[in-house]
């Protein structure tokens, strides 16, 4: 073996091919089957996609690096289920490009945050977390409430999402900016289109408390309120995985 290596290390190409070969195996064995074994992701027929407003909020969550301190992955451990709710299923993040499972909980897990607190609470918390949780070390995000949400490119966002596999329809793409506005303006004519395209359960309300302007705060709160609510799969008895075709 060492004699073989003594000859191998005289050949650059031998070392290069050796490294590539040896280093490829792990990834091929562990990653490739995740795309082909369909039990990997459970079936959840009620799973819906993010609305344009929620997607915009998710992008703000990414932009501000929230994932560095908050996980969105409840592990299959008793204390986590009791603290946060039913453990996370793979299907719940199947439209998450990229996933935001996180790796650190400086703050609590957010996988089941949706509808746990009121919109008002979230807005107050974002403007200054210590107003509602005195011990909090979270940064203040007051600027979100005074920043107008950019909506003109939301159609492009949905289109790119469709390119990577999220089932957005042509109508959803065409109406993306209007739907973003409508979801945060319940009294406007645009509000109906949101429900029509994304389902009756879609929350349509002035998330930041101001019905007339569409701010980044609207988008972020809309996203936080949908966390864990895109499907009911996690609340149903386990077994959906085995019933897969």
């Amino acid at each position: 073996m060492f004699g073989f290596h003594y000859r191998l290390e005289r050949k650059t190409i031998g070392m290069v091919l050796g490294i590539i070969g040896v280093a490829s195996i792990g990834g091929i064995v562990e990653i490739a089957p995740l795309f082909t074994i369909h039990q990997t992701v459970e079936a959840a027929p009620d799973m819906r996609v993010y609305t344009p407003l929620e997607l915009a909020g998710r992008n703000i969550y990414i932009r501000e690096g929230c994932y560095a301190c908050h996980s969105q992955m409840i592990r299959t451990l008793r204390d986590e289920v009791e603290r946060y709710g039913p453990y996370s299923l793979a299907v719940e993040s199947k439209y998450d490009h990229p996933m935001l499972w996180g790796s650190k909980r400086t703050g609590p897990d957010l996988a089941r945050l949706g509808e746990k607190y009121s919109d008002d609470w979230h807005v107050a918390h974002m403007i200054n977390p210590r107003d509602v949780v005195p011990e909090s070390v979270m940064p203040a995000y007051a600027f979100l409430a005074r920043t107008e949400l950019r909506t003109d490119d939301l159609g492009k966002h949905l289109k790119a999402q469709r390119a990577v596999g999220v089932p957005y329809t042509d109508a959803m793409i065409a109406n993306a900016p209007a739907d973003a506005y409508g979801q945060a303006s319940p009294d406007s004519p645009a509000a109906e289109g949101v429900v029509e395209r994304y389902g009756k359960a879609t929350m349509v309300r002035a998330f930041d408390g101001k019905p007339n302007d569409l701010t980044e705060m609207d988008a972020l709160v809309a996203y936080l309120q949908i966390l864990g609510r895109l499907t009911d799969a996690a609340h149903k008895p386990v077994a959906s995985a085995e019933k897969q075709p």
Binding site: Y6, E9, T12, E92, H97, M99, G107, V137, A140, D153
Partner: protein, 551 residues
């Protein structure tokens, strides 16, 4: 510097800079109301400044043929200084965000100054800015000497270094503007990723070209590690960053993968960024500088082989231990745990090989702070690889995951191993490169060593304590069978440790600043003392590689 390029290389540089300026202009126009446009302007300005620099030196006399008789070390010098600049900036940002966790008000009411945007400046700045520059700089130095061959040309090393630093600047400024993919340790967006691929391929080709010119029949073990670093990082980077931009005029893209597949790909990348960036590359560094400084050959050639291939093979399976008890299928978790435990063998073989190399030179370790940096690095390498394997065991991970223990573990590796071996290697190379007998001040090296060690220990102990307390509080039940502590209770318990950690960081940062000053003064006194340069040691014969493995 331009004077060191041949005429055709100067023309090549102008062409590259022109192409870069045009690309920058296209980005600036296409992304006029997007951060992409800001980065386009940045690229264009950099390219134009570079063009002027080349034009100014364009008619300087060509470098003499005699340059080919000595190694080409100017890029290494630049890389070392760049590494130290990044170290000071990124560690300062790191310490700032550490204080923010104890006192969240210590910042400005501005988007760029919030924890979430500053943190990746710290992580990328330290890993890619400091670590990457140090790796590229030392790899140029080491491959020339262990191959007894000069770099094949003068242009490509500069392209690699400047291109790489441009990537780092785009990354760091991007985070401040909110440009991020959110993939941990792979945050830069698609256009920065594409640029890095171009730079990286040039780096790899440069490495191969130098190796092919070598006058040593065997490729020295350092180069195996540097090659693994370059090759595997390329593999990881390309696969993990596959994404679809929303348009050519926008910085935003969406990852090709989603959910569980994305999580596995990300941690396959993330863990192996640790393996091949922060371990392989720096082992390459250690295998050259430690024996060289100690004046002892590597203890065992066979141990080098076993650990090299062991690390290259096992590490690639270990990423899934970041996803224990998650929605990732259990078979992948079990594979990840198994390989993580096995990984301890090649890791400790490496660490043992390094420490045994010091046999017969322990008096030097006592007297020489530079060698002591390297010794402590090897010890921390051993400690943190043990800790890593331990934390990858599922029930242990149940406690440690999501807590500060992970942060402590990472810093035991990053401060104790990566930074210490780098400081050791830099302190060894600076006098060699600038032709001095030693550093400007040996006392300051000594001070830097003790500050680094104290800082690391304070940091790691603080995080061990906070992490374990956190993990235990989250899972403690009271007598009535309900959870004993709220999340906020655990947060309050962290407060003293967060202060301690930030103080540890101050020590470490102070050490780095002293190191920077010491290096700067060594360079200054060198340039004053040596206006007439003596010939370099020869690339053709005299210099024998430090430690050619025995049979």
């Amino acid at each position: 510097m331009i004077g060191e390029l041949t005429k055709s290389e100067r023309q090549g540089a102008l062409l590259i800079l022109l192409a870069l300026a045009v690309t920058g202009l296209a980005m600036a126009v296409g992304g006029s109301n997007d951060p992409l446009g800001t980065h386009g302007t940045l690229v264009m300005v950099v390219a134009i400044v570079g063009t002027f620099a080349v034009i100014t030196g364009y008619y300087a006399p060509e470098p003499p043929e005699s340059r080919l008789d000595s190694y080409y070390d100017t890029p290494t010098k630049f890389g070392i200084v760049a590494a130290m600049v990044w170290a000071v900036i990124a560690m300062a940002v790191g310490d700032w965000v550490a204080w923010l966790l104890a006192f969240p008000e210590w910042t400005f009411d501005a988007a760029w100054a919030s924890f979430g945007r500053l943190r990746p400046v710290h992580t990328s700045g330290v890993i890619f800015g400091f670590g990457g520059n140090a790796l590229i700089a030392t790899s140029f130095y080491v491959m020339q000497r262990t191959s007894r061959a000069r770099l094949p040309d003068q242009l490509s090393p500069w392209f690699v270094l400047f291109g790489y630093n441009l990537f780092c600047v785009i990354a760091a400024t991007g985070y401040l503007m909110g440009v991020t993919q959110s993939k941990e340790y792979a945050e830069p967006e698609w256009y920065a990723d594409i640029w890095l691929v171009i730079v990286w391929v040039t780096y790899f080709v440069l490495y191969l070209r130098t190796l092919n010119r070598r006058k040593e029949p065997h490729i020295y073990v350092s180069n195996w590690y540097y090659m693994a670093f370059i090759l595997v990082v390329a593999m990881l980077h390309i696969v993990n960053n596959l994404a679809v931009p929303i348009s050519w005029g926008s910085a935003k893209s969406y990852s090709l993968f989603a959910g569980v597949q994305d999580a596995m790909t990300e941690w396959w990348y993330g863990h192996n960024a640790v393996a091949f960036f922060l371990t392989s590359g720096f082992l390459g560094m250690m295998y050259y500088y430690m024996p060289k400084r100690a004046g002892r050959p590597i203890y065992s050639y066979r141990m080098s082989i076993i650990s090299f291939w062991g690390i290259t093979f096992f590490y690639m399976w270990a990423g899934s231990h970041h996803l224990h008890y998650t929605a990732l299928p259990q078979w992948v978790q079990s594979l990840g745990m198994t390989f993580s435990v096995m990984l301890l063998v090649p890791s400790w073989v490496s660490a043992g090989n390094a420490l045994m190399t010091l046999n017969g030179a322990w008096h030097k370790v006592r007297d020489d702070a530079v060698l002591r940096f390297m010794m402590v690095a090897a010890v921390f390498y051993g400690l943190s690889t043990f800790e890593g394997s331990f934390m990858a065991i599922r029930p242990v991970n149940a406690l440690s995951h999501y807590t500060d223990w992970t942060v402590g573990h990472v810093h035991a590796g990053a401060l104790g191993w990566v930074a210490m071996i780098t400081f050791g290697a830099i302190y060894a190379s600076v006098p060699w490169l600038w032709k001095r007998d030693g550093m400007y001040s040996a006392k300051l090296v000594e001070a830097h060593f003790w500050l680094s060690l104290a800082g690391t220990i304070i940091y790691v102990f603080a995080m061990w304590n906070s992490g374990i307390i956190q993990g235990l509080m989250w899972r403690t039940y009271n007598e009535s069978g309900t959870l004993a502590y709220s999340f906020v209770d655990s947060l309050i318990a962290m407060h003293p440790y967060y202060i301690a950690r930030a103080i540890g960081g101050v020590f470490f940062l102070l050490g780095a600043i002293i190191g920077f000053y010491n290096i700067w003064m060594t360079i200054r006194t060198a340039s004053q003392a040596q206006s007439q340069a003596e010939p370099d040691y020869s690339a053709v014969g005299i210099e024998i590689p430090a430690v050619q493995p025995g049979r």
